[in-house]
Subunit: 219 residues, 2 copies
């Protein structure tokens, strides 16, 4: 059970605050707008109306020992910067902040924010990938140019074999998992018979981006 | 090479339009704000200044045959609804739209939007999960309550064995992959010696949410 501070209770901040509370943590939410605070009074541990551009606000909340703080203020860049500055100076271990531009990001990074989130940008990338590769339902960037990709097979792949598609493209890609209805099949349980694809199968592949792209045309 | 229409060139729309262009597609971007259009003139195929609340706008753009359209207007709910309505009526195969509230979502769904994105809400969930489980760097919802989880091992897991942690918790969870520096290890190549964890290892686990939660306390 951890203690979290969330400043700014717009959609982003509210989601974080209510989800962390639902997961069993203690959450203090702060917003200068009374309506946001009232709306969340029942769904988070504590919610207070306060303006974080006033230095006394954060001092009076006694949050130095909190496990993490999130600055979920977007449009008021100055307020976001002042809050981030003060929280980092207080020594809170993890200070995360939302940024709306590369410039905003650079300032927050300089001030010591441990992680900076760009919701519109990060979701925009995911949407572009999903539109570009319609069969790719989801993906995970593992770093080092390695990716996990979740395909949802369409009729186009019906009765074909994933091994055949991968070898045919000369791609150095691994099949990690197949989920068909409520069963998950993990190697080495795969056999060529198992690997005849059925429309609707969820197939998890892993490999370097350039290798995954070799089979992209097939998809 | 596909053809895409992106209406609204704020951060979300701009990201989608520029990323799709970078991936080799033809992208038409539309915004009523000239500054947004000018800023993107060099990074997307075409960018035009137009107001989509005027019914003639979309008619004159001849986009009926496009592969997909994205309505990336958030705050002006009416404009978002009018554009979505018209694009669905035109018969475009895939119409995706951004929504800022559950109510907005319901209206867009009723009008026939194929996918509705809530950037602030979806990123908020990810941030809450990351803060709640600090060792979980990323996760993928596979549906059917199955999840892939990427852990980044901290010193706490140094020299321990993943099998021992999983069995100790009685968790029905599979180890799909270990990434250590620039090498990926996939079962069945794992041996107990390999599975001694080193701080910094990226470990991909798969299982039902309730099973993964059994090892959450260890992390
Ligand atoms: N100085 C401040 N002190 C406290 N709260 C603030 C301050 N400035 C802004 N906020 C609050 O932060 C919240 C988020 O602000 P933002 O400008 O990012 O709005 P938003 O775009 O509606 O948010 P979201 O995108 O998360 O829905 C608002 O509810 C606002 O009242
Ligand atoms: N009727 C319209 N016709 C064309 N473009 C529009 C219309 N209404 C709004 N837009 C454009 O849509 C874009 C996104 O609008 P939104 O209100 O979501 O702003 P935003 O919050 O800054 O966007 P983002 O969150 O993507 O950065 C703006 O650039 C705006 O000019």
């Amino acid at each position: 059970r951890q203690q979290f501070l969330v400043i700014g209770l717009g959609v982003f901040g509210e989601t974080i605050a209510t989800e962390l509370t639902r997961l069993g943590n203690e959450v203090l939410g702060v917003d200068r707008d009374e309506r946001q605070v009232d709306r969340l009074a029942e769904s988070i541990t504590h919610a207070v109306v306060a303006d974080v551009t006033d230095e006394r606000t954060l001092k009076e909340l006694n949050v130095e020992h909190y496990d993490a703080a999130v600055v979920a203020i977007g449009r008021d860049v100055e307020a976001s910067i002042l809050a981030t500055m003060q929280l980092c100076a207080m020594g809170i271990e993890e200070v995360w902040a939302k940024a709306l531009s590369p410039q905003h990001h650079r300032i927050l990074a300089k001030l010591g924010a441990n992680r900076i989130v760009h919701p519109e940008y990060e979701m925009g990338l995911r949407v572009a990938q999903a539109l570009n590769y319609p069969m790719v339902n989801n993906y995970m960037d593992l770093g080092n140019d390695e990716f996990l990709v979740e395909l949802i097979a369409t009729e186009r792949l019906d009765n074909r074999q994933m091994h055949e598609i991968i070898d045919g493209a000369g791609a150095d890609v691994n099949i990690l998992l197949l989920r068909r209805q409520d069963k998950c099949y993990q190697r080495p349980k795969f056999t060529p018979e198992d690997m005849v694809i059925a429309s609707g199968d969820h197939i998890i592949l892993q490999g370097k981006r350039s290798e995954l792209q070799k089979i992209a045309r097939e998809l």
